[in-house]
Symmetry: C2
Subunit: 161 residues, 2 copies
């Protein structure tokens, strides 16, 4: 069968366009990226592409099962390839993002299912807390502290390696 983007689209009576390919490529290249970041990336090649199109295309690609999004904090969600399934741990002090295997929550998922019938999706929303670096530091009163996770752009990722 056809696994190309074009083929996947055609099966649904949808059309192949340069924008769609560019958005998919951008998500793949960027790893975790907000719609805004994807847009910027796409615009490096095709400056005319509008952020609206990026939003619509990301939705579509998610529908097609090619990408997925996760919420890392209060800000914009981040999109990544569908296969990228980790647990995200966001530090509410520095905004840094750690990754951990999704299996960490397997037991919890089993329990919520058994006790409440709740089917946990462990990768969709990041867990919040304080990272190792920040836990050591004094109780910053006036520093560049960040109550909620405000993931500084992309690079702040710590785990992943």
């Amino acid at each position: 069968m056809d696994t190309s983007l074009k083929g996947t689209l055609h099966k649904r009576g949808l059309r192949m366009t340069p924008q769609r390919q560019l958005v998919l490529d951008a998500v793949r290249e960027l790893g975790h990226a907000t719609p805004e970041q994807v847009c910027t990336r796409v615009q490096a090649t095709a400056p005319a592409v509008n952020i609206t199109t990026v939003y619509r295309t990301l939705d579509l690609l998610e529908d097609l099962g090619l990408v997925r999004h996760a919420h890392l904090g209060h800000g914009a969600p981040t999109y990544s390839e569908h296969r990228h399934r980790h647990l995200h741990l966001v530090c509410h002090r520095c905004g840094g993002v750690d990754e951990a295997p999704a299996e960490l929550l397997t037991d919890v998922a089993r329990r919520t299912l058994a006790e409440l019938g709740f089917q946990l999706d462990s990768t969709h929303v990041a867990l919040s807390g304080t990272c190792a670096d920040c836990a050591g530091e004094p109780d910053d009163q006036n520093d560049t502290q960040n109550d909620d996770a405000d993931p500084a752009p992309a690079e702040t990722v710590k785990g992943d390696r």
Copy 2:
């Protein structure tokens, strides 16, 4: 020592105002409430109170340790009394909110701490998944489905009892 709101404020050189008492009362009465909901509630008594003041006051009360906020989905955070510490389980289909004891994540917290030095705050962000009711239903294509948690106002809470 003085445990009244007034006393707590004075210790910090802050002033007691009707707005602050009203916001605190509203949070206590409403249980989980978004700033918008708190504002509406406060305005039932004092129509002139501005949403800006509600935001500022909620921040302040959180600082004082009187209330806390949690993120139940992509929308507005919900504020509750400080003592309210549950795990929140949000259904991304219907937006319903379940509550579970925070202890569910104790083991996970132990592991993230040991393995990554990450100090988990289990109650700050809701876990995402599919609730018992929605798991049973067919794969709604066009129904009132709700990809992300979009907690319908307050009452949709299921657990808690």
